[in-house]
């Protein structure tokens, strides 16, 4: 009964979304305030109805109602509570419902917080947002209904065991909040095009939403990568798998959009480009949804292997992206060009950022879609793997990362490059020292790797230099520096933190990629292998029983120079439902890196295959991502950036930052 209520609420939400997509946009066109006013209650009603549907589905999962097909196919009564809940979005139908719930949440946020927006802009943006909702609600109701009933089954089939993991319970909500958060930028871009004008206020509105989306996307990708690292047992953290690229491309586009919206907000320049980028960022999110959900790519994410669904999503893609781009081609020439700037300036640096990031994003897109295109055209089946991306994407990012610390030290309009470089001498020195130290410490692996470490340190130290310059830590008195540090806008701290986080991630990536060491051996009790200065002694394998699985746990005693360090217990699990085995890696974390062990099969003569890795500094990859997200959060808490601050308040507090 409650399930049917949820189903009904979903259909009602579709009806409300249809109204919200049509009336306010019409009202904005003919200047009817009453029609425009429909948007606000409609957005709230839509959120309420979708939330009701979502709760109804969650309830079905919690009580293990196996007369609902989605619950039967993806849940099990003996599953731990957390995974009963995460099972709601651990499958195709439920994840689409979560997608729409987040979409409705963002729409309602505009309705509630956007009271200071120009009424026509708000009405148009909410109408576009509802248009997206219509497309996806139709998709859910017609092609992937989570409320479909089946004859009651005694027991469910269970959730894929590798998805039964805390990191993966939260990975989809974050990722979707990021994907769908970019819909705000999209809706505002289309609304601006409909109105035929856009200004700094527009950028000020779009930037916090983009920042929030970017933050969620960063966390979502980091969680996914972390999960892949410890759960899949390959010792790697990123595989340039198409589904990873599908989330990485919107992240890149959102990063570019954040920076170009900054130019638009401060200088009213790059308007036409920013609007395009806003459309592209969400288009890449949609493309990601399509790639992952259509079954075009088969992977852990491809729940849907129903071609009808793929065609449906493709149609949504064509209408939304095609429509927005057509509108852009038609209306963008009308937008007034903005402020002038010299090539060497803050704007110039941000343009460089945009050019390199969007080009990098394009190479990733080509690498992701090329196999699909080639197979469609010629029938040849190929795979594009890490070598391609290392050859194309990485070289494009190098000049960008080199330029990152310089950009914030350049003045708007016309900058002083020698002056900025001079101020960065300390960062340059730190990078040089790090390069030499890395070379001296390791003396193996690719010769470029120490420079990679230097690059990461350059980013971290550059962010520190930017901060000290701003608060005049070295040139002014202590009290003055304190005062400046207090008055420095939080968004400035956010920028510095985000750039420093990028540096940490770079260090982690370079160190792990260049200096990972690996040992594979068939081990009997008492056998010992050596790896990165550790000795691992095999103590045997014992069976154990978990809540819904049986496992074989291997025991490895780890010593360093004879002194005990840790015990590693890698395991192989066999889950009860579905009967599927998984590998549980054991990881010993230290400041220098991760010691990572995986238990393999038993060989014919009674030994066990053990694979061990040492991944130097690998944690920095995710710590860096966390720091980046923290920077975004700090920026979001800035009073001047806060969503819904009246326009005049900003001018009053617009103290020059330097």
């Amino acid at each position: 009964m409650i399930t049917e209520l949820g189903h009904f609420a979903l259909i009602l939400a579709l009806a409300v979304a249809l109204v919200q997509a049509a009336l306010p946009a019409w009202g904005a066109r003919v200047g009817d305030a009453r029609l425009m006013a429909v948007a606000e209650p409609a957005a709230l009603a839509q959120l309420g109805l979708v939330a009701l549907a979502f709760l109804a589905l969650t309830r079905a999962y919690l009580v293990s109602d196996f007369s609902v097909e989605s619950v039967w196919a993806n849940s099990h009564s003996a599953k731990p509570l957390l995974y009963k809940i995460s099972g709601v979005w651990g499958n195709h139908e439920g994840s689409m419902l979560l997608w729409v719930l987040i979409l409705a949440l963002f729409g309602a946020a505009v309705a509630v917080l956007g009271t200071n927006l120009p009424p026509t802009l708000r009405a148009n943006a909410l109408a576009v947002q509802a248009g997206i909702a219509v497309a996806f609600l139709l998709f859910i109701v017609l092609a992937s209904n989570p409320f479909t009933r089946i004859p009651v089954q005694p027991e469910g089939r269970g959730l894929n065991p590798i998805l039964q993991d805390p990191a993966l319970a939260f990975h989809p909500p974050f990722l979707y909040a990021g994907y769908v958060g970019l819909s705000m930028a999209f809706s505002f871009a289309v609304a601006a095009l409909l109105e035929g004008r856009t200004d700094a206020a527009w950028a000020r509105w779009v930037r916090p939403w983009t920042l929030a989306a970017w933050m969620c996307l960063t966390l979502g990708i980091a969680l996914g990568s972390w999960w892949a690292y410890y759960e899949l047992g390959w010792g790697g953290w990123w595989f340039w798998d198409p589904v990873e690229n599908a989330s990485f491309m919107p992240w890149l586009a959102a990063t570019a959009l954040l920076h170009s919206a900054l130019v638009m907000e401060k200088r009213e320049a790059l308007k036409v480009w920013t609007i395009l980028l806003a459309i592209l960022a969400f288009s890449l999110s949609l493309l990601g949804t399509f790639l992952v959900r259509s079954g075009v790519l088969t992977s852990v994410h491809a729940f849907a292997v129903d071609p009808r669904r793929g065609i449906f999503i493709l149609a949504i893609l064509a209408v939304l992206i095609g429509g927005a781009l057509a509108l852009y081609a038609w209306r963008a020439p009308r937008l007034q060009p903005g402020g002038l700037f010299a090539p060497i300036s803050r704007e110039g640096a941000l343009v460089l950022n945009n050019v390199l990031i969007t080009t990098g994003c394009a190479t990733v897109l080509i690498g992701t879609l090329y196999p699909l295109a080639l197979e469609t055209l010629t029938g040849a089946k190929i795979s594009v793997g890490p070598p391609y991306f290392n050859l194309t994407f990485v070289p494009l990012m190098l000049p960008l990362l080199l330029a990152v610390p310089v950009g914030p030290l350049l003045a708007w309009k016309r900058g002083d490059l020698p002056g900025a470089l001079q101020r960065l001498w300390a960062a340059g020195l730190a990078a040089l020292v790090a390069t030499v130290a890395a070379y001296a410490a390791v003396r193996r692996g690719p010769w470029l790797a120490p420079f990679g470490i230097g690059l990461g340190v350059w980013l971290v130290a550059g962010a520190a230099v930017e901060w000290t310059t701003r608060v005049k830590l070295l040139s002014a008195s202590g009290a003055e520096a304190m005062r400046r540090a207090r008055n420095l806008p939080r968004s400035a701290y956010g920028t510095a933190l985000a750039h420093a986080g990028m540096g940490l991630t770079v260090i982690g990536i370079v160190a792990t990629s260049a200096w990972q060491s690996e040992q594979v051996a068939a081990m009997k009790v008492g056998d010992r292998i050596e790896l990165a200065g550790y000795e691992l002694t095999f103590r045997g394998v014992a069976p154990a029983r978990g809540p819904n699985y049986q496992e074989q746990v291997g025991l490895l005693a780890v010593t360093r120079g004879g002194a005990p360090v840790a015990e590693l217990a890698p395991a192989k699990r066999l889950y009860d439902a579905p009967r599927q085995s998984t590998t549980e890696a054991a990881i010993h974390v230290s400041a220098a890196g991760d010691l990572y062990a995986v238990l393999g099969d038993e060989t014919r003569d009674g030994a066990f295959v053990v694979r061990a890795y040492f991944n130097p500094l690998v944690r920095l990859i995710w710590i860096g991502a966390l720091v980046m997200a923290l920077g975004a959060a700090l920026s979001l808490s800035d009073r001047r950036l806060r969503i819904g601050v009246p326009r005049r308040a900003r001018r009053a507090s617009a103290v020059p930052a330097q």
């Binding site: 027991e155 002038l340 700037f341 040849a380 793997g385 391609y388 009967r579 085995s581 060989t603 014919r604």
Partner: protein, 151 residues
Amino acid sequence: MSRRQRRAALIVAGVAVLCSAALLVAFALRDTIVFFHTPKEVMEKAIPPGKRIRLGGLVAAGSVRRGEGLTVEFAVTDTASTIPVRYTGILPDLFREGQGVVTEGVLDASGRFLADTVLAKHDETYMPPEVAKALKEQGVWKQPGEGGRAR
């Protein structure tokens, strides 16, 4: 600089970046991509030993032999042809006889495939799309989930 000159400078810089990216992409796509073949194609196309390819099909029933150490030998078949494979390392969780598999590596002179990667599957109903397609063409495709998966 006038607005026009600035715009020109910007466009030149943008085009320069795009061109270098295009060069990189063209170069990388020529050298780094790996073609996928079924055993039948490997037999027919006379792929030179040492060329890196992906070989996909079913793990032939009764073919898996574990060696003393880490080496595993098995055969990949699409029922039309069968290729012996040698692999050293840990096999993915769901590697089983009769299941779909994708391996990456090179052929040696005797026609044996030396795999350095055996691709993991995430799910027991998962079939690499290339394998599924090849098997369909061979007429031995069985819909995943058929045969008593629903208990």
